[in-house]
């Protein structure tokens, strides 16, 4: 390059840190065990903003995207789907195995942020950030996702339903790294719907959202899942409401499930939506989603 800079950006936006690309989990683990404050770098969409604003002041950023297996995607019709922690969210939009076998994941991912953000954002990073309005969590909870976690102490599995502990809190210890996420296989006649109400088209300023999934076995609609966002301190399933839908739900049973959900959520006021508005919105979204799933499953050939 022979050209010279003629307009210079004066600001250096980020405070100084060391960028390190570990070659192995063991190497990453040694940094995590050290005294210096370390942050794992995935897509950086959130972390770099927090460094800009001074909310985070890491001495070391560990870029874990290049660790062995972290970008693997494997699907097997019995064993299900394995998604490496550094697989980006755009893969959930484009990937053929996702579109075919985990359509709810595809449907939800399409609505997430923008192509620019999805191309960078990683599955591991998005889950670990644990926003109460994490849209990725809704389909992942419905598909019974399990986080596989490494630390120098060993491996462990954390079902996503036990992963979120509250506002931006997870069951991950400070020295643990998500290596991949596993989703079990689902029958062909599975159908899911994600519905949301947000102030902005890119998903920011969420009022409420719900994902609903079930599958059809002969005439029965079974294995219902309901995941809700924006109405509690964490993304969560509502198992009691799911149980109320088991079989082929009648109108009264749908009403009962919705009533159970209302009893188990704790929305808070936001400057763009009052708690009671979020509650009412969720009810409408969830009813639409449940009815849509019933209709779609019943119209499938048996």
């Amino acid at each position: 390059m022979t050209r010279h800079a003629f307009i210079s950006m004066e600001t250096v936006f980020l405070k100084s840190f060391q960028y390190i690309r570990p070659e192995s989990l063991e190497e990453a683990g040694r940094f995590l065990a050290g005294d210096a404050p370390v942050k794992l770098l995935g897509g950086g969409n959130t972390l770099l903003l927090r460094i800009q604003s001074g909310e985070e002041e890491p001495a070391i950023l560990l870029d874990v995207k290049h660790l062995p297996g972290f970008k693997d995607v494997r699907y097997h019709h019995n064993q299900g789907l394995k998604l490496g922690a550094a697989v980006n969210l755009q893969h959930l939009v484009m990937g053929l195995e996702i579109r075919r076998h985990y359509a709810l994941l595809h449907q939800t991912a399409q609505k997430l942020a923008s192509p620019q953000v999805r191309n960078r954002a990683t599955i591991g990073g998005t889950l670990a950030w644990a926003s109460p309005v994490s849209e990725l969590a809704a389909p992942m909870l419905c598909y019974d996702a399990v986080c596989h976690v490494w630390s120098s102490r060993g491996l462990r599995e954390i079902p996503l339903s036990e992963f979120y502990l509250g506002d931006f809190q997870t069951a991950l210890a400070g020295d643990e790294i998500i290596t991949h996420v596993h989703l079990p296989a689902f029958p062909n006649r599975t159908y899911g719907v994600y519905r949301r109400q947000t102030v902005r088209h890119d998903g920011r300023r969420m009022i409420a959202a719900a994902a609903v999934l079930a599958y059809r076995r002969q005439q029965a609609l079974t294995h219902w899942r309901i995941a809700v966002l924006g109405v509690d301190d964490r993304p969560k399933r509502i198992p009691e409401a799911e149980a109320a839908l088991e079989g082929a739900p009648t109108e009264e049973e749908v009403d009962r499930a919705l009533h159970i959900v209302q009893e188990q959520i704790h929305p808070v006021d936001a400057d763009y939506a009052r708690a009671d508005y979020r509650r009412a919105s969720l009810n409408v979204l969830l009813r639409q989603a449940i009815l849509d799933v019933i209709q779609q499953l019943q119209s499938m050939r048996s």
């Binding site: 100084s16 840190f17 960028y19 950023l61 191309n119």
Partner: protein
């Protein structure tokens, strides 16, 4: 901390020494003098800094310079060939896709990424592809038209 990195930008290979906390946008603009990608919001909302990183559109303000080691990058400067404007660029001129022009380099890059996957996108697909690019002049209608016309002209 310093890093010696190598990447390809608009077909040219470059070697650079960058700092850990420099962004790709800073390096492209300040070190390489390619001022097509713009500094807008620095938070990943506006898309003015969009570049292609290994063929995929990203916000270069949220990519660390050392992360680009080994990558293939394209900025708006790489669209034209032999002083011949890219069909998208011509179409933006002909159909008023450029108003103040600040968003245009990012819009063009997002459009390029879209057309490399989908040769004849519907209006809805174009809108979805531009979700991450803001135009504060509000020239969206003409931007979408520019991309539509360019995609039809290519065949």
């Amino acid at each position: 901390m310093k890093h010696d990195i190598t990447f390809t930008i608009n077909g040219e290979s470059v070697h650079l020494t960058v700092l850990s906390h420099q962004t790709l946008l800073e390096v492209i603009r300040n070190d390489l003098g390619l001022t097509g990608p713009k500094y807008g919001c620095s938070t990943g909302e506006c898309g003015a800094c969009s570049v292609l990183l290994d063929g995929e559109v990203v916000n270069s303000c949220l990519v660390l310079a050392p992360e680009a080691d080994g990558a293939e990058i394209m900025t708006v400067e790489g669209l034209s060939e032999d002083d011949e404007l890219h069909p998208l660029q011509k179409s933006f001129i002909d159909h008023h896709g450029v108003q103040c022009g600040y968003c245009a380099p990012g819009m063009l890059i997002s459009a390029k990424a879209l057309l490399s996957r989908t040769s004849r996108p519907h209006e809805e697909e174009i809108r979805e592809a531009l979700v991450g690019n803001l135009c504060r002049c509000g020239a969206y209608a003409d931007i979408i038209k520019s991309i539509q016309v360019a995609s039809r002209a290519r065949r």
